[in-house]
Symmetry: C2
Subunit: 577 residues, 2 copies
């Protein structure tokens, strides 16, 4: 049935046909995810909802935004992409997330949590401004309901004076089980199934923001969903509605239903051998350190297990907290606990750390507090695509004063870096990929700003590389070049900040090659370029150095930090012409 | 009385003495702010609350966090810093914001909105972990109550299983009047003064999160505040409390009471002449453009007037929205409205744009949507200090693909850039300082990636500078150097991204000097260094280029984007040895 299905055809189908379609979609998702990897249990839970939405609403004229986007597979299957579905997450195949470039049915790209309500409000507001007529719908899980963005969006519903449908897909899970008071509140709403009146009283929170609350319904019951959405469609011209449905994450596949966290995302192991995942090393090492050091605390934002910290949380429940998908709050919690003398570790995926940028600058670094950022899935993360690549962290972190940035060459060095971090009394970021694949033989003391030579070379070329992936490339290249008689030196630049200036100064006559699994702009290579340009004769930069700028008059602060006519004039007068 | 006051002495004072102290503090604040500039009306509103807090609680043993921190002047006056108060916001003087380095009474630095509840929760959690005993108090305005961070913090109160006091200082204002549903809700609570029972029913929202709600009280009534806080102090060992007080912003100074937005911050004009503020130019020009172009919409986050958009909002109320202090939500609203074909402008101070980093990357730039970021107060902003310097924007923006970054040389060029932006169909950031001080004579068409020569020079030196401040330094320096016979060329590098590669290629033999009002790392100078290093013979960088990386296998994506052994080997084999 899927082979030639379109969203329009679905409207003509009978309920038994639609049920059969759901079953077929579910099987297709299972078989494809086990081939390609991808999000499984979130997609299995939303099959009926998605088919009902396509049956009742008129896409792509109506607009549908999926929060995070990891539950859009059924949507893709029934919106003219079934023939491409087997290519999902593959190079040149369709994306595992909504993608405007891919189909008019995908009206807004998502990937990080909590953006869908803001986005659907903007879409609805644009509709109103241009006097268009369509329905605006967001589908969001209860995990995302913890994120502050939801509150900001709710808070502006009346201000925007528009109408949207927000479908709260409540499965009790983020990647980890959902936590927090909003989750408890949703549970109360769900439990009151027999007492509509009592539930309506409880639902006041949403009504404060201008939403009508309607719930709770079984999101896996296709007939109920179709009836409910049909009724709601008529009301949407008058009011904004939160439709609260309960679904079973992993629905229809017993192993998923029983293991929703483990089957949130399925990875297909590559042919390469994995020695150990960095996350396992983090969990094991931090737990061991915390046994001796009572100041150590750990904070996560809804992905404790995938960050390797399940054991730590079990062993030290009073010194660990998963705050839900609240990356900004998690960052400030760490900073403020550090301000009281604790030693906090915030473990997070690189891509989600982007949410914490302002708090890293102000709360952690401008106060120079000893928080350690454990940045997992750094570098290219692969199949999830551009919303999940961890390729920006060095770029947005490198310009922040007071921050030391470490990049381990392998899991063993990562372990030693974690041990080092417990004695390091300042902001520290350690970035690493998911899989540790090989162990380098060298081992030297971890000292900030000190690099390590992995391979000596008698020639002019030196490769400076940071992190396992880049060093793997560097060493492989050097070994290959050796065959053709070119001796290349390879350096493990394990501190991106501070740079090893002593070593760099000895390389002034060398031909330097930098390698990193990060954007060039603002990344490791840029720091090297800055270093040599700053002391070279070709380029001189006047800009602020690596320090926070306190208060004072603008001109005097500019001058104090190097931006003054006298500084520029002095440089030029004394430079070679 | 202030001259020799300490927090400890306050505890021994009588109510009349405390009242007199309040009056004295208020006068001191007024006279000092009119000399030094600073936050006026927010500080005048919180005099009695602050004195009462110091009377009832035991600082610095108890911990007090001020949200944003622009209401801490009375606190500073009565915590051993009265003798330094006249130096506030001056170079080497005390800060206008809480500062740990300054006094043990300042336990946590703030500057941006909404961080205080997270911070006080972290402080309280640290207390519990270390089995210490003190009270943990946050003071937060209703403006900050709009921010999503508050919700994230509330949501985790029960998870953290700790006790804090949150004092909601409700004056109905952010910098602009507070907006949104939470504000309306607080108004309902405030209005029900005679009906305690009804109010308690309304207060359920806070109780859902685990807070006892207690309100509404007159925060400018010293005796009432002392009584209330004394009672609450006893309850804090058992429960977390939100104390809702109403204060008058600008209290005690009629002009402030009547003009709380205009007197939120007082600027002391410098001796330099200001031709026009950039914000005025934004408002005037965008309003003019919007008359012709119905697609133009404007979004702000609680500072419409100071961004120059008061007139736009009056003229186009249906195409403008101030969402309150919700920078992330504002950014997504713009992206989603752009996804529907509108032309949104998000105006914001540089320092507050830091909150939107993730949404700029994903919502705006990875979708390549034509949102224009109007980045005010870029560069050093001066007296507010490190939490408000706008020196990071080029650094965190430059590595984001698809983003064009423009920096006008003066207000006239800014006007032309805004006009240009209305025809530009991609993400655009325009950064500018507050004051426009001079007008350069040259004027040439605004073309992305095309720079402008402001002064020809026959010698070897070329200064590349972006923005009015840097160009002012560059031109002044060049003119001065001319006297000693050194001819320096000066270039207005008005697009930081893309660079003017044609011009740069013609400068390969020149001695280049870059000047910018931004951090070096990741900033304009770094881009220039990258450009020349990349094509020079000294340094070759392997890192990701200026593009988003879609989905696929890790290794194949790395290789596709330039990180492969064959690329490295090929480079080295073909390079000069």
């Amino acid at each position: 049935m899927l082979d030639n299905i379109s969203s329009q055809q679905i409207k003509k189908m009978t309920l038994p046909q639609l049920s059969a379609l759901c079953e077929e979609a579910r099987q297709k998702i299972i078989s494809t995810v086990f081939k390609n990897g991808g999000h499984l249990s979130s997609n299995l839970g939303t099959v009926e909802l998605t088919v009902a939405l396509h049956y009742v609403f008129d896409f792509p004229k109506d607009k549908l935004v999926f929060d995070v986007g990891h539950q859009c597979y059924t949507h893709k299957l029934i919106s003219d992409r079934a023939d491409k579905f087997e290519s999902i997450r593959k190079k040149d195949g369709i994306s595992g997330f909504p993608k405007r470039e891919e189909s008019p049915y995908d009206c807004y790209n998502t990937g990080h949590a909590g953006t869908s309500v803001s986005a659907i409000l903007g879409i609805a507001k644009a509709r109103d401004i241009e006097k268009k007529d369509f329905n605006a719908i967001a589908v969001i899980g209860d995990g995302s309901f913890n994120n502050g963005l939801i509150y900001e969006a709710f808070n502006s519903l009346r201000l925007l004076n528009t109408r949207v449908l927000v479908i709260l897909n409540d499965n009790g899970m983020s990647i980890s089980p959902t936590v927090g008071s909003m989750h408890e509140y949703l549970e109360i709403l769900s439990e009151d199934d027999a007492q509509k009146e009592k539930r309506d009283k409880h639902a006041k929170i949403f009504e404060r923001f201008g939403f009508k609350y309607d719930g709770v319904y079984d999101g896996n019951n296709l007939a109920e969903m179709i009836d409910k959405l049909t009724e709601i469609r008529e009301r949407l011209s008058r009011e904004s509605i939160i439709l609260h449905i309960v679904t079973k994450k992993g629905k229809g596949y017993e192993f998923c239903e029983d293991n929703p966290e483990a089957t949130h995302g399925i990875s297909i192991s590559s042919s390469d051998s994995v020695s150990e995942e960095y996350s396992e090393v983090l969990g094991r090492t931090l737990t061991r350190c915390a046994e001796k050091n009572e100041k150590i605390v750990a904070v996560t934002a809804a992905m404790t297990t995938s960050l390797g910290l399940g054991g730590f949380f079990e062993k030290f429940p009073d010194r660990a907290v998963d705050v839900g998908i609240c990356e900004e709050h998690a960052t400030i919690l760490c900073a403020s606990m550090a301000s009281m003398g604790l030693k906090p570790y915030y473990a997070v995926y690189s891509t989600f750390l982007q949410r914490s940028y302002d708090e890293i600058v102000l709360d952690i670094c401008s106060q120079n507090l000893p928080v350690t950022l454990c940045i997992d899935r750094a570098g290219i993360s692969g199949s999830d695509g551009e919303t999940h690549q961890g390729v920006f962290d060095l770029s947005f972190l490198s310009s922040i004063p007071n921050l030391t940035i470490a990049v381990p060459k392998d899991v063993k060095e990562f372990e030693r870096m974690i041990e080092f971090s417990t004695r390091f009394n300042a902001p520290l970021a350690i970035r690493y990929p998911r899989a540790g694949k090989l162990i380098f033989k060298t081992s030297s003391p971890i000292i900030p700003g000190k690099w390590e030579v992995l391979k000596e070379g008698s020639g002019n070329f030196v490769i400076l590389a940071c992190g396992e992936r880049a060093l793997t490339l560097a060493m492989s290249s050097a070994q290959e070049l050796q065959k053709s008689g070119i001796e290349v030196k390879v350096v493990n630049a394990r501190f991106v900040k501070p740079l090893d200036k002593d070593m760099l100064d000895n390389l002034r006559e060398s031909h330097i090659v930098t390698v990193e699994d990060n954007m060039l702009i603002g990344g490791f290579g840029s720091l090297i370029n800055n270093y040599f340009c700053a002391s070279g004769k070709l380029i001189k930069n006047f800009a602020y150095g690596d320090t926070f700028i306190t208060h004072g008059g603008v001109e005097s602060l500019m001058a104090e930090h190097g931006l003054s006519c006298s500084a520029i004039i002095g440089y030029i007068q004394n430079a070679d012409r």
